[in-house]
């Protein structure tokens, strides 16, 4: 194959994603004596929930896990975007602008979740961000002091984001939960089993106590009004408009499964299917945390720890059995969250003919024809063919067409072509074959 310039690395266990699940998996596998590499696209480990610029600003639990990861001996590679993967567990990685091929005995997919973005008129305007998106930008140093901010989203993520914006000095005008009041009340009542979560929620609410927090309320459309945003709200009985500088909005979280699908892992209900040992349908490939449909940092730590131990060959250990018991309560909580905070039908109904679905290629809803598959729509309209590869428009296109997602192909994120060619060459080269 000529000159292959890609760096090479072999590891017993390769962990993809450096959030809580990936940190726990990498630390436990490395502590068990395995050669572990942790690959994360961000500038430092922590993922979304523990995103930070200064470790001292993090909660104690996060600091302890990061220190444990430091001590574990795992090889932590940041700025490492996995773009390709084969069922023989070879990963093609763009690492700080250079190609790297990782050959692993086992892979733990801890790729987290992404926000569910549901298109509506005006959602492409600058100043309209995700809910988790706003929090990520805040943690990266975004200054929002004095800016008028409205939040329209769903689920437990609303509270910490609203609290963070208020603490950062934003002029928070509205926090709107789209789920009906009855669903939110039922969810709240179910929390008697987890008083810790209830207290946590109350403490967060106290940080934006003077701000309107409405249930059963959503955004219908947004317009640009002389540099500010004009948000049209609805609650099923009334419609009204309010000005804001920023609108943070999303329809909840969905598992990030692109890499799992590329590997050929089976899915169930949009999440990576795993067994009791976090094993996917692909031999020696494990998944932990949000990709499995389980939700939240505590669940991610438990699943990551199990995956790390099992990937390190410790499947029979008492630690795994203990963690499995803990995992059950997190699974029940995740199921209650999914039940209470599913997007209401009105959120889908907002799409008009000229609403842009695919933001990369500016494809409006009217360009779709009924009866197409997602693949046919992509070929005919370019929807889903741009840089984000359908991550933004995919849910809406699938919903409108009533068609399942298209298959995933490498690279799962765009990479400079030369590097991709290098990676592919390395993956295919005779010395790379097992």
């Amino acid at each position: 194959m000529g000159d292959v310039r890609a760096g090479r690395l072999t590891a017993d266990v390769a962990v993809v994603g450096g959030g809580p699940a990936g940190i726990a998996a990498a630390a436990l596998a490395a502590e068990a004596g395995r050669r572990v590499v942790l690959l994360d696209a961000g500038p430092r480990p922590g993922g979304q929930v523990w995103r930070h610029t200064n470790r001292h600003t993090l909660p104690g639990l996060a600091r302890r896990w990061l220190e444990r990861l430091d001590r574990s001996g795992a090889d932590v590679r940041c700025g490492a975007q996995v773009v390709d993967a084969t069922a023989s567990l070879r990963l093609g990685v763009e690492h700080q602008g250079r190609p790297l091929v990782v050959e692993a005995g086992a892979v733990v997919l801890a790729t987290g979740a992404q926000e569910l973005f549901l298109p509506f008129p005006g959602w492409t305007l600058p100043g309209v961000t995700g809910v988790g998106g706003a929090q990520a930008l805040l943690k990266a140093g975004w200054e929002v002091r004095g800016k008028r901010v409205a939040i329209a989203g769903t689920g437990p993520l609303l509270l910490p984001v609203a609290a963070a914006l208020a603490t950062a000095g934003a002029d928070l005008r509205m926090v709107a939960e789209q789920a009906p009041a009855a669903a939110v009340r039922a969810f709240g009542a179910s929390l008697w089993r987890s008083p810790g979560r209830l207290l946590q929620g109350a403490a967060l609410r106290a940080r934006f106590a003077s701000v309107r927090y409405r249930w059963g309320t959503w955004v219908e459309r947004v317009d640009d009004q002389g540099g500010a945003l004009r948000v049209q709200w609805a609650d099923g009985r009334h419609r009204w408009a309010e000005p804001t500088d920023l609108l943070c909005t999303a329809g909840g979280l969905v598992p990030s499964t692109e890499l799992a699908r590329l590997l050929g892992c089976g899915l169930v209900g949009g999440a990576v299917a795993v067994d009791e040992l976090q094993q996917t349908s692909v031999p020696n490939a494990y998944a932990a945390g949000e990709p499995t449909g389980n939700t939240g940092m505590e669940a991610a730590l438990v699943e990551g720890a199990i995956a790390g131990l099992v990937a390190a060959g410790k499947r029979g250990s008492g630690a795994v059995r203990k963690l499995a018991v803990e995992r059950e309560s997190h699974r029940r909580f995740a199921a209650r969250v999914a039940q209470a905070f599913q997007p209401r039908p009105e959120l889908w109904d907002r799409i008009t003919g000229d609403t842009i679905l695919c933001r990369c290629e500016d494809v409006p809803a009217s360009a779709l024809s009924g009866g197409w598959s997602v693949r046919e729509a992509k070929l005919a309209t370019r929807a889903g063919m741009g840089s984000c590869q359908g991550r933004m428009c995919g849910p809406a296109v699938q919903h409108l067409l009533g068609s399942p997602p298209d298959t995933v192909r490498a690279p799962v994120v765009p990479t400079a072509l030369g590097e991709l060619a290098d990676l592919t060459a390395s993956l295919d080269s005779p010395q790379g074959a097992s």
């Binding site: 961000g42 500038p43 200064n54 926000e115 600058p126 961000t129 933004m392 994120v413």
Partner: protein, 82 residues
């Protein structure tokens, strides 16, 4: 301790804290739109974590860099077409 670095945005020098992401630094400097869509619409950051590709800018001559994933570096040259 946070130090400051100088970055060049469309040729204009900007002093920013060294622990910011490029996306945060650009937003703080008043840039809401980072790029133009294929039909010319203004676009800015949405997901903050590298998923949406709306915050793409040109960094040191390399187009398509996601500003939310780039830490600021002293001397970094950034071009926006927003």
């Amino acid at each position: 301790m946070t130090k400051s670095v100088r970055i060049l945005v469309n040729g204009t020098s900007l002093e920013v804290a060294d622990d910011l992401s490029l996306a945060a630094a650009l937003l703080n400097a008043g840039h809401d739109a980072f790029r133009r869509s294929v039909t010319g619409g203004p676009r800015g950051p949405v997901c903050g974590m590298g998923t949406c590709f709306e915050c793409r800018v040109t960094v040191d001559g390399m187009p398509g860099k996601r500003a939310c994933l780039e830490p600021v570096r002293d001397g970094m040259q950034v071009m926006l077409d927003g």
